[in-house]
């Protein structure tokens, strides 16, 4: 059987991708619909950009977006540091005390339902406030800590798997030539695995930016993130501004993804294990 002509597989692919994209595309299309009902096309007044203008001037959404941005950036940067340390440690050090625990702690958050993680972290913050007075109330700090805890697990996985294909001979050669282990890490290992670390940063950023459940549990008054605002709006039904938000999000993500994947394809030619 020549696979390529398998009608079955091609049909499945078509169906699968249609399933994935029809909702996304419908949101984009209806963001230009003048009608407030969103899904009933108002042919007389559409397409229109009025909801785009409206969104850009919506203070509630803009404030929430700003908070989300701050949290996401701090979270991504912090998670990358923690996750790289853990990923490198797990990949390079075959045996150390607590390895099993660290491994378990970095894989559990990946699958655990967020309601559990969110609840437990909130209770921790409350208890800590009782015992030592910090954190005083919930807000951006507690939210960021919450995000970092589960984001770093994702970064660990990304870094760890990159380290698995990293040729250890490169590190040994550097040591052989006189570089101490710390120097080797910064001058050799880090530059070569940098694309993985960058994608870890982007992953942590996105996880934080889109997070609803953990944010809801760990946030406080005045620190509503964008997803929290969106959620409260869509609980009541459809809203054209949300369609606009979705369209903008998709556009930005698509652009970044294409850019990053082109850059990564170039970087992948360096530092691959197989010597040609």
């Amino acid at each position: 059987m020549n696979y390529r002509r398998s009608a079955f597989i091609i049909t499945c692919l078509a169906f699968g991708y249609a399933f994935l994209y029809i909702p996304i595309l419908s949101m984009v299309v209806f963001s230009f619909n003048a009608s407030k009902l969103v899904t009933v096309w108002d042919a007389a007044h559409s397409p229109t950009l009025k909801w785009y203008y409206s969104l850009i001037h919506d203070d509630e959404i803009l404030d929430a977006a700003w908070i989300s941005l701050k949290v996401a950036v701090i979270n991504a940067s912090g998670s990358v540091i923690l996750g790289t340390l853990a990923g490198v440690g797990l990949a390079r050090f075959a045996q150390f005390k607590g390895r099993f625990t660290l491994n378990a702690m970095t894989t559990a958050p990946l699958v655990m339902p967020e309601v559990i993680t969110g609840l437990s972290m909130l209770l921790l913050f409350v208890a800590m406030e009782q015992w030592i007075g910090w954190p005083a109330g919930r807000g951006i700090t507690t939210m960021t800590i919450g995000h970092m805890t589960f984001s770093m697990a994702y970064v660990t996985v990304v870094v760890q798997s990159r380290m698995a294909t990293f040729d250890t001979a490169l590190e040994e050669a550097a040591m052989d030539l006189g570089a101490r282990p710390l120097k080797v890490f910064f001058v050799i290992t880090l530059p070569i695995i940098f694309p993985a670390i960058l994608s870890g940063w982007l992953l942590a950023f996105t996880l934080s930016w889109d997070d609803l459940v953990i944010s809801s549990f760990t946030s406080g008054p005045g620190s509503s993130t964008l997803p929290m605002v969106v959620f409260s709006k869509v609980r009541l039904g459809v809203s054209p501004e949300i369609n606009v938000l979705a369209s903008i999000t998709i556009g930005v993500v698509a652009l970044i993804m294409v850019g990053v994947s082109l850059w990564m394809a170039r970087a992948r030619r360096l530092g691959k294990k197989a010597a040609d």
Binding site: E172, A174, D176, G178, R180, I192, R269, L270, A275
Partner: protein, 380 residues
């Protein structure tokens, strides 16, 4: 051809007073239950090219890595130029290594790769540039300074790796299968280049390889390894002509081995009766073996004469009859597999000295004979 440096020609290993540059004293390495290196002791002298030769899994790479500082011996110690290397990490040893995969830093240029070691030592910028330049001249890569590894061919990458590991003038250079990734023609060419470089710089080389041709060409001395032990160490000629065991005889080059018992055991000669052979072997030197011991006579294929007529002046020693079973024509020589009446197949090689010689063909009855000095008797 010079397959020994100036220093090696003086054969310092024969001088009991000579000080070894690298001393490996009773070194063992175990990984769990598995003993990779078993009680190895070795002395390597300055200016030598020493080859560790063995099949994969024999422990040669582990031994090499212990010299480089990437593995710690389970027992025993290593001294380089008199200094004990126990606990000394790779970045503090006067040893450099050329890796099998070359391990060139992909994000650095040729220049930066070669300069890396000098930078770690804090050498002045001007001096770095000078030394890197000289080195690149030596390996004939002038003009390639700004290229990145992925823009180089396999042979060029190898030369960068070599330059990088030599620029620091290490006391000992370790080479892990240096020619394995090259094709045949390039390999031959590089072998002689390596020897020339070593001669010029006077660096002591330790090469690890499974390729006996490589070992024979490069080495001033070879250490044959099997199951973590060095079974024999000596010059290529010694290893080839005077193997100390069946393993070594069989490992380096091809050989015919006949099992037998001592019939006559005299100081100047021995006579061995071999059922495998279906005859007797007369060897013109004495050996030391227990009486009634089983011994083996090893005869190299090129030392066996093959003729259609019975050889002159033949006693009954050192001659047998057989039938040609197989012939492989290799251009410069031909390999003949001759089956003896006992069933044993003997390998004979003959140079094709004449273009129109009367060819010996399949099934032909031939006489095989050899000099009394040709067989090597081994007792294990």
């Amino acid at each position: 051809m010079a397959n020994a440096g100036e220093a090696a020609k003086a054969a310092p290993w024969r001088d009991p007073g000579a000080r070894a540059y690298v001393q490996i004293e009773r070194v063992s390495k175990s990984f769990g239950d598995f003993k990779a290196v078993d009680d190895v002791s070795l002395k390597i002298y300055q200016g030598e090219i020493f080859c560790l030769l063995g099949a994969s899994g024999c422990g040669k790479t582990t031994l090499l890595r212990m010299l480089g500082g990437f593995e710690t011996p389970t027992s025993g110690r290593i001294l380089i130029d008199g200094e004990d290397m126990s606990g000394v990490p790779p970045y503090e040893r006067p040893v450099n290594m050329m890796f099998q995969s070359y391990a060139l830093f992909p994000h650095m240029s040729v220049e930066q790769n070669v300069a890396f070691g000098l930078k770690q030592d804090g050498v002045a910028k001007g001096e770095i540039a000078e030394r890197v330049g000289t080195m690149l001249d030596l390996v004939k890569l002038r003009g390639f300074e700004k290229r990145k590894p992925h823009q180089l061919s396999g042979g060029q990458r190898q030369r960068v790796a070599l330059a990088r590991s030599l620029v620091k003038r290490p006391k000992l250079l370790l080479l892990d299968e240096p020619l394995g990734a090259l094709d045949k023609k390039l390999r031959e060419h590089t072998q002689f280049e390596l020897i020339g470089l070593q001669d010029k710089l006077g660096v002591t080389f330790l090469v690890v390889t499974h390729d006996q041709e490589e070992a024979m060409t490069l080495a001033s001395r070879i250490g044959v390894m099997d199951h973590g032990e060095i079974v024999q160490a000596g010059t290529p000629a010694e290893i080839y002509e005077f193997p100390s065991s069946r393993f070594v005889a069989d490992f380096v080059g091809s050989v015919n081995i006949f099992e037998g018992k001592l019939l006559d055991d005299e100081p100047e000669y021995v006579r061995i009766g071999s059922e495998e052979l279906g005859g007797t072997i007369y060897v013109s030197h004495g050996i030391s073996a227990a009486p009634e011991a089983v011994v083996w006579a090893a005869i190299r294929p090129e030392k066996i004469f093959m003729s259609t007529a019975a050889p002159h002046g033949a006693g009954s020693d050192n001659v047998v009859r057989g039938a040609v079973q197989d012939i492989a024509y290799l251009g410069d020589l031909s390999i003949y597999l001759v089956k003896l009446p006992t069933g044993k197949v003997v390998r004979v090689t003959q140079p094709n000295t004449s273009r129109h010689a009367e060819a010996i063909t399949w099934e032909q009855q031939v006489y095989l004979s050899w000099d009394a000095s040709s067989p090597v008797v081994v007792t294990r």
